[in-house]
């Protein structure tokens, strides 16, 4: 056997971009996204810690449900949970080799994400109309900062899913496994964005 020739074929190629490395059981992007999510946990963890610190020190603290739109936010919660389901279904269909249904579920995920942002937009405009700004109180400061940052994460997801739905889907023809992996990795990110909202919703709207 000619080990050297075989090795040379892979000299230029970065290994484990698609298939998992045997001893770690992960492909590169999957490890990468988990690390990225770890850093995101630290980012939102720092913000939640700041929230707790400021809230516990405050003599009075407004109740979110007194003026925020709880029904709309509840609807948004279910929309995000639904999108987490559709993104898994998209990945499952791609794993089974079904591009058509895979794309339909990616599109549904995208629709959910956009619906979430539109609802958030309604909420923000309502607050601004009522003259409630980030500078009004520390509660609103935290509300706008954290939901705003979360909204940016949703927007990031929208951009990536739009890319994967339309131009990015060309990869299906050339490298099926890799395209499926991309959906999996984005799905992991999407679950995280969902999870952040699951924490934000009760702590801002219900408590």
């Amino acid at each position: 056997m000619d080990a050297h020739a075989e090795a040379h074929e892979h000299v230029l190629e970065i290994p484990y971009t698609v298939h998992p490395r045997p001893d770690t059981g992960l492909y590169n992007a999957k490890l990468g996204i988990w690390l990225f999510l770890a850093s995101e946990v630290m980012l939102f963890g720092a913000l939640f810690s700041s929230f707790i610190l400021i809230r516990t020190a405050a003599p009075v603290w407004p109740r979110g449900w007194e003026f925020l739109n709880v029904p709309l936010a509840t609807a948004n919660t279910f929309i995000l949970i639904a999108s987490s389901v559709t993104v898994v279904l998209a990945w499952a269909n791609l794993r089974l080799g079904n591009l058509k249904w895979g794309r339909i579920f990616i599109a549904l995920t995208l629709v959910c994400a956009l619906a979430f942002l539109v609802n958030k937009g309604f909420e923000y405009t309502h607050e601004f109309k009522e003259h409630r700004f980030p500078s009004t109180s520390n509660f609103l400061a935290i509300y706008f900062t954290m939901t705003g940052l979360h909204g940016l994460h949703v927007l990031g997801g929208v951009i990536v899913f739009s890319y994967l739905l339309l131009p990015g889907a060309k990869m299906w023809k050339t490298d099926r496994a890799r395209y499926t992996n991309r959906i999996e990795v984005c799905g992991l990110y999407w679950h995280f964005v969902d999870l952040v909202w699951i924490f934000l919703f009760p702590s801002l709207y219900l408590m």
Partner: protein, 637 residues
């Protein structure tokens, strides 16, 4: 079994038919390489090869060059500060480059001094040393040392550099603002920084870009080291430098996001008028601030130091890694206690997340919390001492090669030792009450970072320069650079301990001469320190010339050393050419057979080292030149 003819190639014994096959392979590979270079040369436009390159080596060089420029720039800011400190209120024509609004008639204004101080700290930490230690050395060396064709995510790597450079430029651009740059110190303590001039907003924007850059970089490093290790490169065969980079990657990954959160909150305070860091009833210049109030200035300090203490280890761990490589190579011995060093570096990584509040003993956060952080601080000093001790013991009994990189690496040991040991009193609450915010603190962390980390960086530059260019830097001028820098840098920082013990506060515009308790020592020492600083600048000139002369010669294709000029064992030297190939690094991906520092080991006979990837031991096989059956069987697999 029939007898097969054997012959010696270099330091290896080979069967003749094997040797013939290897030679054929080598010729074929060379032809393919040439062809590929021709194709790539045509296909890739220059801006893709040199500006937005995805080759980790080129990105490493981009990082290195940019970081060295920032290092020089930050150093020059310090020279201006030292001129003012040495001779307060004196007019210098050099100072006029700051402009009339900062230094009218060449006399530095206090507010301009604050700008210089803030920018010196920020530039040195975030734009010079971290990018040099992690971005440059990590990028260039780590994939080569683990036998990877590139980083795991080459495009992310490119984006990481292109977040770093704009981040730096945003910081620098604030010099052009009417009110100047950020001026609240590199720590940007609230509420001062919230009410500061516009430069602070630039600082925050710059930081967000830099944090993004280091986040992308750290993900890339960790994935590369875990996933792309060559066959046989187990974790315990990783060179110590790679271990240091791995832990550094985790620190950057997990410690920077809280600062990003803090930067976002401060940005909101400054731009959207929130009160995260502004307490109620704040009075500024006799005017009560109209804001919601209820914020907490200490929150900023907690979030900042949650990053900035691990950041200290981001500054020092890669330096320790470089020093370990250079020491192992120049003592021609395996590192003493490699395993305990690895254990220590991992332990430092964990502990560095629970020591941050030792920067805040004076904030009145309570004795119980202070006691906790005092304890963790004392604990974290143990692994650092283990690493340093292991490096010292590695020297014992060695016939040391006093090369230029080795001189810098040797100087690192006592210099970092001084920096580390002077940190202990600062970690003890009672001593810190006296020393907090004095020049003692400045002396302490500069000993860690300047003659510590920066000397290690120079060791790395002299050591890996032949790797990147195929040329060694001139040894004589390297020695001039070393001894001059070594003497001058101690002249700058050693008196700071005396100043601090006498109670001279940091960040004083005039170095303390207006205070009765500080006047005497400030007048005695400050001019000497300033002259030393200028001397330090002068002794960098030989390095700059040495560096560029050799870079230019290398660009003309002149090599003056072979592929492995230091006779090193790690595979970045032994398995690739110097400079390495373009994309792809290795002509043949190496397979690793042993640990990283097999110098003067039992396997060595003809040479005093065995590279990690060497397939056959240099020992002529016993029994009339026959390889043992077992070895043959293994090789046929």
């Amino acid at each position: 079994m029939a007898q097969r003819k054997q012959l010696r190639v270099g330091n290896q014994w080979l069967y003749a038919d094997d040797a013939e096959r290897l030679l054929r392979d080598a010729i074929r590979i060379r032809d393919q390489e040439e062809q590929r270079h021709r194709i790539e040369g045509h296909v890739q436009p220059w801006w893709k090869r040199y500006v937005f390159s995805t080759d980790h080596k080129w990105i490493g060089l981009q990082y290195g060059f940019t970081a060295l420029c920032f290092l020089l720039f930050g150093f020059c800011l310090m020279i201006l500060m030292r001129l003012q400190l040495g001779w307060p209120g004196h007019a210098f024509s050099l100072m006029k480059i700051l402009g009339e609004n900062r230094a009218p008639g060449g006399v530095l204004l206090p507010e301009a001094y604050n700008q210089l101080g803030a920018m010196h700290g920020t530039i040195m930490v975030f734009l010079a040393i971290v990018p040099l230690a992690v971005g440059a050395f990590g990028n260039y060396v780590v994939p080569l040392q683990i036998g990877a064709p590139d980083m795991a995510f080459p495009k992310l790597n490119m984006i990481s550099y292109w977040c770093y450079l704009p981040g730096g430029l945003v910081m620098l651009s604030s010099f052009a603002l009417k009110d100047g740059t950020a001026n609240s110190g590199w720590t940007s303590y609230a509420p001062l920084s919230v009410i500061a001039t516009k430069g602070q907003t630039f600082w925050l924007f710059g930081m967000v870009l830099l944090i993004t850059s280091s986040l992308l970089g750290s993900v890339n490093f960790i994935v590369t080291i875990i996933q792309l290790r060559a066959k046989g490169m187990t974790f315990m065969r990783l060179p110590f430098f790679v271990w240091a980079q791995l832990v550094t990657g985790f620190l950057l990954l997990l410690a920077f996001p809280p600062l990003e959160a803090a930067a976002v909150l401060q940005l909101m305070d400054r731009v959207a008028g929130t009160s995260f860091f502004l307490p109620s009833g704040l009075v500024i210049s006799g005017q009560q601030l109209h804001n919601a109030g209820g914020g907490n200035p200490l929150l900023w300090q907690h979030l900042f130091w949650f990053l900035a203490h691990p950041e200290v280890y981001v500054l020092i761990l890669p330096a320790m890694g470089i020093v370990a490589e250079v020491i192992a190579n120049n003592t021609r011995k395996p590192l003493w206690g490699y395993r305990s060093m690895v254990g220590s570096v991992i332990f430092i990584g964990f502990m560095s997340f629970v020591v941050w509040a030792h920067h805040m003993f004076l904030t009145g956060m309570g004795t119980l919390i202070s006691a906790f952080f005092q304890t963790t601080t004392m604990i974290i000093s143990v692994p650092s001492v283990i690493i340093l001790t292991a490096l010292f013991i590695s020297l014992y009994g060695a016939s040391i090669r006093f090369t230029t990189p080795m001189l810098f690496a040797l100087a690192f040991l006592p210099m970092f030792g001084i920096g580390g040991l002077t940190g202990l009193p600062l970690g003890l609450v009672t001593a810190d009450l006296h020393l907090h915010d004095t020049y003692y603190v400045i002396g302490h962390f500069h000993y860690v970072v300047a003659p510590g980390t920066i000397f290690a960086m120079f060791a790395g530059i002299y050591y890996w320069f032949p790797k990147a260019t195929g040329r060694k830097l001139n040894d004589f001028w390297g020695r001039v650079h070393f001894w001059g820098s070594f003497l001058c840098i101690n002249g700058v920082f050693m008196p700071m301990f005396a100043q601090g013990l006498a109670g001279v506060s940091r960040r004083l515009y005039d170095g303390g001469i207006q205070y009765a308790h500080a006047k005497a020592i400030a007048e005695q020492t400050n001019p000497f320190m300033s002259i030393s600083a200028i001397g330090l600048l002068v002794f960098q000139v030989p390095f700059i010339f040495n560096f560029f002369a050799n870079v230019l010669a290398a660009m003309r294709g002149k090599k003056n050393v072979d592929d492995n000029p230091w006779q090193a064992t790690t595979i970045e030297w032994a398995a690739t050419t110097s400079p390495p190939l373009g994309h792809g690094n290795f002509a043949v991906l190496p397979v690793v057979h042993r640990g990283p520092y097999e110098y003067n080991c039992p396997e060595c006979t003809t040479t005093d080292f065995v590279p990690q990837h060497a397939e056959i031991a240099a020992v002529p096989p016993p029994g009339g030149g026959m390889l043992p059956e077992a070895a043959v069987a293994q090789r046929e697999m």
